[in-house]
Amino acid sequence: MRSLVLLLAAVGVSLPAQPLKLDLTRLEAKASDKVNISLNRGTLQLASAFLDGKDAEEAQAKKLIEGIDTLDVRNFEFKTPGVWTQADLDGVRNQLRPPEWSRLVGYSSTEDGETAEVYVRQVKHKTLGIAVVTAEAKELTVVSIAGQIDLDSLTELSGHFGVPKLERKQK
């Protein structure tokens, strides 16, 4: 098996989109509010059939999930700070390694202990994965999207879903 993977890597064949393993059950048990969503291609296609193309938000979601294979979201809110540790996030971060994965944006504040990172998985100039990891004192969020993703559509999310649109810098 290992030799087959090495052979495929050697000839430049990319393996199919692999969703991240989000093993955060320890935190989920301690969360006061939690969102745990895992959708595969079949469920996304089913959802797409029920999304209304005439509604701005639903049309945006429909467009985004077109090429997606899996969509996973974990959002945990805690009543007290200090529930999550860096070790919890390391399990996710360790999967987001080069050469396929690269960190697009990273932000951390020593003042309030907030961190936020966006990773992309690019294979032959195609974006095949996005991971968003944000951690605040009492909240932790991990978003993993695997499949063909239109980055422009993703950035267009602001301005929809009740989120104010951020102005883009003119180049």
């Binding site: 969102v35 959802a47 029920f50 978003v143 602001s158 879903f161």
Partner: protein, 91 residues
């Protein structure tokens, strides 16, 4: 006894059925009524099952749609927060 009484007596006199009468009745009953009711039951089961299947699929679709919308909402909020933070640091 007048002629009318005689006629009635003859008409209403007990007659033994043919020896295969019971078997013929059983065969006829087996042939008609149960088959019809069996078809009706099968048709009703199919209608109920397909109706339940469609309703379940509809329910699954609506749940999946809600999950997609929730996932997109969370992603949108988080990406916008990150964009705003980065803008603060690098205006």
């Amino acid at each position: 006894m007048d002629w009318l009484e005689q006629e009635l007596q003859q008409a209403l006199a007990r007659k033994e059925p043919r020896p295969d009468f019971a078997e013929r009745v059983r065969r006829a009953a087996r042939r008609r009524a149960p088959r019809a009711s069996r078809w009706m039951a099968t048709a009703a089961t199919l209608v109920i099952a397909s109706g339940a299947g469609i309703a379940y699929r509809e329910h699954q679709g609506r749940v999946a749609k809600e999950q997609v919308m929730t996932a997109m909402r969370i992603t949108a909020v988080k990406l916008t927060e990150i964009q705003a933070r980065v803008k603060e640091v690098r205006p």
